[in-house]
């Protein structure tokens, strides 16, 4: 952050970014539903260079028992990066960063999931980052939400997510790894599209008040684009006619 020196041209004179995108364009997103047989619900997302698997179990018994809540169910999220997900081997033990992301993703999903229906149970969400390319938390949140819907867990709304940020003094949508490293700001947003509510908002970098507002608007536009892809992925599994098992 803070504009580290690099040779990469983040934005050329035609307004084209380092990976050939326009400023308000997301990377290519593909989602597949129901990829894991043993999980109650699952999803696989490719968000540009990010490749993430999400598996959902539950509602099921809580172990250890003392974690269970007699009034409501609990949601547990584990975000984990594979040792081979980045160019330099990553220690597979959960790092401080992974523990934090697990926490913010849990809190981003909690407003959507109707946990009160399942007292004394847990819903477990496992997110495995197979390949990372900047913006994994957004991609992981998108996959988690689709996997929860696939598991048939009651939700008030889907959660879709996309980042916005600032690089080369310009607001950009869907910050990639290079822009994250050399850019000026990165703001991941989680959004419930039918309620119009933000469930995840982080900001790493510096923005003026005006830029901040514009950045949120831009990010929400990205979230809505991702939401359409999430819907299509679920429709393809459940509503396409005939057998496709």
């Amino acid at each position: 952050m803070g504009g580290r020196e690099t040779d990469v041209v983040l934005l050329d004179e035609n307004g084209i970014r380092s990976d050939g995108r326009k400023v308000n364009e997301t990377r290519k997103v593909t989602i597949k539903v129901g990829v894991l047989k043993n999980a109650d619900g699952s999803a696989y997302i490719e968000f540009g260079g990010n490749k993430i698997l999400a598996g959902v179990f539950g509602p099921r018994d809580v172990h250890p028992k003392h974690m269970s809540n007699p009034d409501t169910g609990i949601l547990r999220v584990r975000y984990h990066m594979e040792p081979f997900s980045v160019s330099e081997r990553k220690n597979p033990a959960p790092s401080r960063r992974e523990i934090e992301i697990s926490k913010v993703l849990k809190e981003a999903l909690e407003p959507a999931v109707i946990l009160e229906k399942f007292p004394r149970t847990a819903i477990d969400v496992y997110l495995e980052v197979l390949q990372a390319d900047g913006g994994t938390r957004c991609a992981a949140l998108d996959a988690a939400s689709v996997a929860l819907a696939d598991a048939g867990i009651p939700m008030r709304d889907m959660v879709c997510s996309c980042a916005a940020g600032k690089a080369a003094d310009t607001l950009i949508l869907d910050v990639n790894n290079e822009e994250d490293q050399a850019g000026q700001a990165d703001m991941p947003i989680g959004y419930m599209p039918n309620f119009g509510k933000i469930t995840l908002l982080q900001l790493d970098g510096v923005l003026t008040t005006d830029e901040f507002k514009k950045c949120i608007e831009l990010g929400i536009e990205g979230c809505k684009q991702v939401y359409e892809i999430q819907k299509n992925a679920l429709r393809e599994k459940y509503f396409s006619s005939g057998d496709n098992n």
């Binding site: 109650d40 539950g58 149970t121 819907a149 048939g152 039918n194 819907k231 509503f239």
Partner: protein, 219 residues
């Protein structure tokens, strides 16, 4: 607004003066789905039949369960849901049940399969009962498991179709477990295959015809 439609969590089914039922929430004047499924509007009631998910116990449902364990007062029964079913000892031994005199393991052992009815779901764990006609321990038959969300597709007429062409007797538990009994092995194989076909099929309006054709083909 289309009356029956496929919906995803968060989708607004209809707005206005309606009442939310199963898998629907009311948000302002919008009725939103909470499940992936098929929405239906009957009079002013809006429901969504889910296409995925675990079995949610409902009072008076017939379920097939497996005895997991027992303590001094009750059996714990796996009913393929997120809660275990509780079968109280007094359900079998009567009101004068005494833990010192009667031995639960003599009546039902761990691993036994029972056909039961959900008696009450308002308690901690759903209470089940085996007092009633045809309820109780199942001694023979083939046990098949399909997704509980596919059970509504096994309507009376579909079951009759299969039973008529294979001579099998089919007992359907609302929790996704099915017991098949048949004297001849070809009929048994065929009925298992047709039930599994229903378990695998996506939403399909012509399912009954397909099953009929499948049964005819193999005659």
């Amino acid at each position: 607004m289309n009356e029956n439609q496929f919906v995803l969590p968060g989708d607004v089914i209809v707005t206005g003066d309606y009442r939310p039922e199963q898998n629907v929430i009311l948000e302002g004047n919008r009725l939103m789905s909470t499940a992936t499924g098929f929405s239906e509007i009957k009079d002013d009631l809006v429901t969504v039949t889910p296409l995925t998910g675990l079995y949610t116990p409902k009072t008076d449902d017939l379920v097939i369960g497996k005895i997991v364990s027992h303590n001094a007062l009750s059996w714990e029964v796996d009913i393929n849901s997120y809660y275990s079913g509780i079968l109280t000892a007094s359900d079998i031994f009567g009101k004068d049940y005494s833990p010192s005199r009667d031995d639960l393991s003599l009546k039902l052992k761990t691993g036994d399969i029972i056909l039961a009815r959900i008696a009450n779901v308002n308690s901690r764990d759903p209470l089940i009962t085996i007092t009633g006609e045809n309820l109780g321990k199942i001694d023979s038959g083939e046990l098949i498991k399909i997704s509980p969300t596919k059970i509504p597709r096994l309507t009376g007429s579909v079951i009759q179709t299969i039973e008529a062409s294979t001579n099998a007797t089919i007992t359907v538990g609302q929790n996704g477990l099915i017991i098949l009994k048949c004297d001849n092995s070809t009929g048994l194989k065929k009925s298992i295959a047709s039930i599994k076909m229903i378990g695998m099929a996506q939403y399909d309006a012509n399912l009954e015809e397909k099953i009929q054709r499948f049964l005819d083909e193999n005659n």
